[in-house]
């Protein structure tokens, strides 16, 4: 039995060390805000934050976490709350709220990874340009974050709105 920290909680798991994080999260820990896309780190649907860095859960062995905490989309509200010094998460993360406000998803399966990647970006760069957002979602990771429905225009608007919401959150 080993442990990892997921979405602010210490969790125990039995899986062998070579098991990709994706299967541990979904099948052992019941955390479904991480989706299987390609299993090849080519699409970004399975992205999670490892510490502050986006990684592909489908190819990251559970043994490679190096003690760093994992955040999935399910844990974004809690992550935001703790960054704001709140005890409990009473709102969605600004990125999630922006995704609703801008009606970003079409089918939505890629958006789990998109929201994780945009969270990573905005935590490091609170006022990104169009170019920053395009680069984050295309060239910054092991592969582009792919959306087959073609929601990229909505994602761009969503990311800008999320940046505004985060800044409002900071000044609140």
């Amino acid at each position: 039995m080993s442990t990892i920290v997921v979405n602010g909680q210490q969790r125990k798991f039995k899986a062998s060390p070579d098991t990709p994080l994706l299967y541990v999260l979904r099948n052992e820990l019941g955390i479904m805000g991480v989706k299987f896309g390609c299993g090849l780190a080519q699409c970004g649907a399975c992205s999670v934050l490892l510490g502050d860095e986006e990684v592909r859960a489908c190819v990251t062995p559970i043994s490679a976490l190096d003690g760093k905490p994992v955040t999935t989309v399910d844990g974004l509200p809690q992550r935001w709350a703790s960054q704001k010094g709140k005890l409990s998460a009473d709102t969605l993360h600004p990125v999630q709220q922006a995704w609703i406000d801008e009606q970003v998803p079409q089918c939505g399966i890629c958006q789990f990874g998109m929201m994780i990647k945009v969270t990573e970006l905005l935590e490091a760069n609170p006022k990104p340009t169009d170019q920053d957002i395009r680069e984050a979602l295309t060239t910054s990771g092991p592969s582009p974050h792919l959306c087959r429905c073609g929601s990229y225009a909505a994602i761009l608007e969503g990311a800008h709105r999320a940046a505004k919401l985060m800044m409002q959150g900071d000044s609140a």
């Binding site: 099948n27 989706k35 080519q42 089918c107 582009p144 792919l146 429905c149 073609g150 909505a154």
Partner: protein
């Protein structure tokens, strides 16, 4: 109309004719303290069937156990539930437009539409594929109108006022200083509105309401046209939605299918499963269907890979290979027995038209994949009583149910299909199956445990259907004035669709008929229609035909899988519209005319005139002929171009302009700007329509720039995203979407998928404008563009 058989029981039996439907049921007002509802149910067999329904047993006359639930239910708490056999694939129509349509006809606030139940064969009443959603929306519009009319009849009796004096606004029925809400009207009632229905529940085209109630005048609309939010988005982004891949059952096994080496191979010997390395795994073989199951998903993945490496499959080379596809289609054109179909717009005799100038050209449209971001996944639970519950993601659960029952040799009543949100797949399952469903059922039956089959990326790329390739030979004759004197087009390609279950084929189980010229089953015909609607009404002579055939690798032994076709977005219309629109641009260049003005000179429909004029302004179109004065087909410096395309689909009028930059020496094309103008009639939800158009347009740009399926003589060789790249965010052009609300036409907006189709011809035309060189082969990969530069 109202009979009171027994005053002592203080109940009233209703039996009221409402525009061909029958309002039936028993009133028990005063006995039921709470509750009450009016539900729309249906009688199969049209209007005569409605008359045969027994007043006291309306429910038992529903078509099947799967259809006892109401289509729409108005409840005594003033809420409305909507059930639809259609599913959501991300466009949100069933959660936004459908709720708006029903609320509008019922004259209730949108907020009253609290619940949408979708796509479950045991609890949603209708069937048919999830396509043409707003065409189908006419069904719901009529059902809601009948519900409103029935409620008004009821209210007239309750309030003791003439029906003609009553109106309904905001959920309140009123007249002659009396009023009652829907909820109060229905308290204590248990009423059904029996609606005449035609069609076939489990066939791809589904059911149709056979009644014509008065519809709310469009000018009175207050809900249709509003930018209603999609209520399914919030739970999705919060991580609360149960997606198809998230469904689990106690005792469930994870399965990975080991598909054959080619699309026609049979299994000679399976690889060995090393039980010491994979102690929980088990190998299952049903004919040529081979799978590894395990309670542990990662073990199933690894064990399946290990077994696959050791499998022996027969050699099979039944495909032409992608490089020789055009030759294959040329051969099919002469050798396949499928007769050609003629276009509906054909007029005159093109061979007799003498041309001053003439364009003769051939165009090639490749195979393309639906390519959902997540591969298919299904969970089946075959039970001891022979029933099977299938949890999946399908655009047509009723037809899937029919095919699963056929495969098992069981009654349709034994099969329940439940659907969940999943990755969009753009038409791939509108005939029921997208892959994995039948495999899960067969494995669950074999193992008597719930089995979840998750296809891997390669399974989904290699074993799913694809949007079929097509070639077009086009001749355009110009007269002295540079106008089109005759248009001739011959389109050749495999049939549109093969819905046979691939796992059933591999296992040697019964399937629906293979595609052929003779079958009339579903969409299995190999005959091709001329699907692109002719729009250049002033052209005096037109001849279009389409020649279909078997798909590559289909012939041979029975059960051969081959390279199966399936509709995608604007099926067949895209493959015919793209060459037509490219050719029109070439003809305009030949005539020395501005291609946008050239279209205006040839369209006859004022709706096209209006959107083309609008496009000219919105796209900042340069009014000049192609090629651009700066056009070059050599060198490493970028050259710029503009191109235009139009389409008519489902009574929606579409025009698109593309602006591109080309590097002639490298063949690299960058799409800088896309402008789309759409007149789709009544716009139900401008917010969702805009998002659909933006997204569709970008998928279209992806198809235009990147997408071509590669395959060799036996198998699809594009197994992942590196071999089948799609558009990335960095490549996204500037997008401008203009929606022209045109309520006067009286029909709902439809066909946002047209946005996909417009991109390819407009971009190809823009590259021609930039380089002088016509682009006749899609997609615009650098090597194809380089080839065109030296042609």
């Amino acid at each position: 109309m109202i009979r009171s058989p027994s005053k002592s029981e203080a109940k009233i039996i209703y039996d009221i004719n409402v525009h061909g439907a029958r309002l039936m049921g028993v009133s028990r007002r005063g006995f039921l303290a709470a509750g009450g509802a009016l539900a729309a149910v249906f009688a199969m067999g049209g209007r005569s069937a409605v008359a045969r329904v027994n007043a006291s047993k309306a429910n038992s006359h529903a078509h099947s156990a799967a259809t006892v639930n109401g289509w729409i239910e108005i409840r005594s708490d003033n809420t409305v539930l909507l059930r639809t056999g259609k599913c959501d694939f991300g466009q949100s129509t069933i959660y936004t437009a459908y709720r708006q349509i029903v609320a509008e006809e019922l004259c209730v606030p949108l907020e009253a539409m609290t619940e949408v139940v979708s796509g479950d064969t045991d609890r949603t009443p209708d069937g048919g594929g999830t396509f043409g959603l707003l065409r189908y929306g006419q069904n719901l519009r009529k059902v809601a109108a009948l519900m409103r009319e029935a409620s008004l009849e009821l209210a007239a009796r309750r309030l003791a006022v003439p029906r003609a004096s009553l109106t309904v606004h905001d959920g309140l029925i009123s007249g002659e200083n009396k009023k009652i809400s829907y909820g109060d009207l229905l308290k204590g009632e248990d009423l059904q509105l029996v609606i005449p229905i035609a069609g076939d529940l489990t066939m791809p085209t589904g059911l149709r309401v056979d009644a014509d109630p008065p519809l709310k005048p469009v000018k009175d609309y207050t809900i249709i046209g509003k930018p209603v939010l999609n209520p399914s988005i919030a739970p999705k982004v919060a991580g609360k939605t149960v997606w198809v891949g998230d469904v689990t059952l106690p005792g469930m096994l994870h399965a990975r299918t080991i598909h054959p080496a080619t699309l026609g191979s049979t299994l000679i010997a399976p690889g060995k499963l090393d039980h010491s390395q994979f102690p929980g795994a088990r190998l299952v073989r049903i004919g040529n269907l081979l799978a590894v199951v395990s309670p542990d998903e990662w073990e199933a993945v690894q064990a399946a890979q290990s077994v696959a490496d050791g499998c022996k499959w027969s050699k099979w080379e039944g495909l032409p290979s992608n490089e020789r596809l055009e030759d294959h289609l040329r051969m099919m054109a002469t050798e396949d027995p499928t007769p050609a179909r003629e276009g509906r717009a054909n007029k005159g005799e093109p061979s007799s038209v003498k041309a001053t100038r003439e364009l003769r050209a051939s165009y090639f449209m490749p195979y393309q994949k639906h390519a959902p971001i997540s591969p298919m996944v299904s969970l089946a639970d075959y039970r001891e009583d022979g029933s099977v519950w299938l949890h999946t993601h399908s655009q047509n659960p009723q037809h899937l149910r029919r095919m699963i029952a056929l495969m098992l040799g069981s009654d349709e009543e034994k099969v329940v299909v439940r659907t969940y949100p999943g990755a969009g797949h753009y038409g791939r399952s509108n005939g029921g199956s997208a892959g994995s469903e039948d495999e899960a059922v067969l494995l669950s039956r074999e193992l008597r445990r719930p089995v979840r089959v998750q296809w891997m990326r390669a399974d989904d790329m290699q074993w799913s259907t694809q949007s079929p390739a097509m070639i077009a030979d086009i001749r355009i004759a110009l007269d002295d004035a540079g106008k089109i004197a005759a248009y001739e087009a011959s389109h050749t390609g495999p049939g549109m669709q093969d819905d046979r279950l691939v796992g059933a084929l591999l296992a040697g189980m019964p399937v629906i008929p293979a595609p052929s010229p003779d079958t009339t089953y579903g969409f299995q015909s190999t005959m091709l229609n001329v699907n692109d609607v002719w729009v250049y009404g002033t052209v005096p002579v037109v001849h279009e035909q389409a020649k279909g055939g078997a798909h590559p690798g289909q012939t041979g032994a029975s059960g051969m899988v081959g390279l199966r076709s399936h509709s995608m977005r604007t099926p067949i219309q895209f493959q015919q519209n793209c060459p037509r629109e490219i050719a029109i641009n070439e003809a305009a260049m030949l005539a020395g005319k501005d291609p946008l003005q050239f279209r205006l000179d040839h369209v006859s429909d004022p709706r096209f005139v209006a959107i083309l004029e609008r496009l000219r302004t919105e796209a900042k179109w340069e009014n000049r002929p192609s090629p651009s004065p700066q056009a070059r087909s050599q060198g490493s410096d970028p050259v710029k171009g503009q191109g235009v395309s139009i389409m008519l689909r489902d009574n929606g009028y579409w025009a698109c302009a593309a602006h591109v930059t080309v590097i002639p020496a490298s063949g690299q094309v960058r799409v800088e700007r896309m402008t789309i103008v759409a007149d789709v009639g009544i716009v139900i939800n401008p917010l969702q329509l805009r998002r659909q158009i933006q997204a569709g347009c970008l998928m279209g740009v992806s198809q235009a720039l990147h997408e071509e399926l590669s395959f060799d003589k036996g198998a699809v060789t594009a197994t992942d995203w590196s071999a089948y790249p799609i558009l990335t965010m960095a490549e996204m052009p500037e997008l401008k979407v203009v929606i022209t609300d045109n309520p006067s036409v009286g029909t709902y907006g439809q066909g946002s998928e047209s946005a996909n189709a417009l991109a390819s011809p407009a971009i190809a035309a823009a590259v021609m404008d930039a380089t002088r060189k016509p682009i006749r082969r899609m997609p615009l990969k650098p090597e194809h563009v380089r080839g065109a530069m030296v042609a």
